[in-house]
Point group: C2
Chain length 324, copies 2
């Protein structure tokens, strides 16, 4: 409820960002224009732009400057989704057919590359080497995270530390720099942009853990794709790692995961999902997500008391909300 | 012969660039380190770094600065090759197995993304927004070129203008900015960097036309992959477009191309290649490449008479040399 109000209060800014997103990916090449617009139309929470806008309130709020950070961040996120769908062999995302399903893998790959390139073009307009450095560093880390995910597919021996490092690179970092770059673009003091970076990082960790929980516990309607997708593709997430520690569950769960692996994409993950749901792994993962949110909220303590601070806290709390 | 001498004279600088390339893509993640190093080891002419170095001689030659332009350009080129191999379903390049053949398409995609990201990290060290702008603009154009290539696969009705626009984006632009950025990084006057950009553009066009000729007329040993690869994947190049204009050849050539398309990857392109070789299209394409080289050489006329100018002319002439 509070979140809806927040989005409503940011509506003109978010619409302006939406327009810039559409402008930035438009192309004379029909094929590219179609695939990029298709992605945009699928929507999304535009979480990274929201963080940019709120972080920008801690400095000299200038929408035009903030847009030049918000748009690249959302584009980088979108590009990673398109490439993810190639890897995951996903046919739907947010209830819509993916680029790779609607066109093909080749087109999805270059659409991702193109959107990525456009992100850099927009960010380049700010002519701030520091922003460039933070963005390109994050891009590299995200690629490493993606490769770690491939490396760790079906690896039931991985530690929870493996998992946490991976989601840090894959998800948390981009949210962290969304908060940081919003503050930097607005000329906020380093102390503020650093605190916001740490806030974003903690929120990002909680966000990914919650997302992974939803994939196990959500309904197809709620998550826009069949549940158990992660397991089906071999992505061993935190609740699964926790469940594997339970003596009674370990052997049957290992057997189910091995069966999914052997079936090479044709298996159903429902029995494995059921086992994980019956474990204490769900509650343990929820607890860890909540701890990240608590840490995120503490990071806000030392920031000036402006309305944006309350808004950031609201988003953080929303991220940890799970309805399944 | 002259070219070997030129490479020999640049040996220390090129070795230093080679070391920086290896450093820049090294990763703690073994999988990523292996795939990126595999690419590096396959070698290549390092044409873009050579252009950067020679262009740098027209200003204040500073190897450390020039490297920060040469390395990103070569990395961007390498990243495009890895993604190309996914598209082309190529199993060898330069006589070596491709990343997608040695590992798989997913790994090739993220290796490309990673190398790309690293290119931006290195370029960012220069803190020159103009360099960033030129690089990111070129990246976007290259993606559009790749998409145009996919769009135009098996399109026998495309014009030579289509082809020229496509190779301009896909190949010529990166060579053009290699020359331009070498000059800019060395602080050469705008007049010089612009002339070098135009020189590089013309050389790049000739280079791609010659490359496409080699795919039709070269031996497997000379080109490091089976000849006729372009036609097999549906890439209709300039000599083919010229051959299609010949009344006697048009129908049989169209039939052969249609047969390749229908066979969906399992066909041999040898009969189509034979038809194109028998046409005047080969000589016509050679003529056009030579015209681009002549234009490139004319661009050098107004540049200061330093040894690097002679070297650039030598490379231009070498690019147009064809031995088949």
């Amino acid at each position: 409820m509070k979140l809806l109000k927040l989005y409503a209060s940011l509506k003109p800014e978010l619409q302006s960002i939406e327009d810039s997103l559409a402008d930035s990916v438009s192309s004379e090449l029909e094929l590219l224009d179609d695939s990029a617009k298709h992605l945009l139309k699928a929507g999304g929470k535009r979480l990274r732009p929201v963080f940019v806008l709120l972080a920008g309130k801690f400095g000299h709020y200038d929408l035009e400057r903030l847009k030049k950070v918000a748009v690249p961040l959302e584009l980088i996120h979108m590009a990673s989704l398109v490439h993810d769908d190639v890897i995951d062999d996903a046919n739907t995302r947010r209830g819509q057919p993916t680029v790779k399903a609607k066109w093909d893998n080749r087109i999805a790959m270059f659409t991702g590359d193109y959107i990525h390139g456009k992100a850099l073009v927009v960010a380049g307009q700010l002519e701030d080497p520091r922003i460039h450095r933070i963005l390109s560093g994050a891009i590299v880390q995200m690629c490493i995270g993606e490769m770690e995910q491939i490396r760790d597919f079906f690896n039931t021996e991985q530690t929870t530390r493996n998992y946490l490092l991976r989601i840090r690179r894959k998800t948390a970092l981009l949210i962290a720099i969304s908060c940081q770059l919003g503050a930097i673009a607005a000329g906020a003091p380093d102390r503020v942009s650093s605190a916001l970076y740490r806030f974003g990082y903690q929120v990002g960790m909680a966000f990914q853990i919650t997302d992974d929980l939803l994939d196990l516990c959500g309904t197809e309607k709620a998550i826009g794709k069949p549940p158990g997708s992660d397991l089906r593709q071999g992505n061993i997430t935190l609740p699964v790692l926790f469940a594997l520690r339970e003596e009674k569950l370990r052997e049957p769960l290992l057997a189910e995961i091995a069966a999914i692996r052997e079936a090479d994409g044709t298996a159903v993950s429902a029995p494995a999902v059921k086992l994980v749901r019956s474990s204490a792994g769900i509650a343990e993962a929820e607890k860890l997500a909540d701890r990240y949110i608590a840490k995120a909220l503490r990071e806000l303590d030392n920031l000036p008391d402006i309305p944006a601070k309350k808004n950031l806290a609201e988003i953080a709390k929303f991220v940890a909300q799970r309805s399944y």
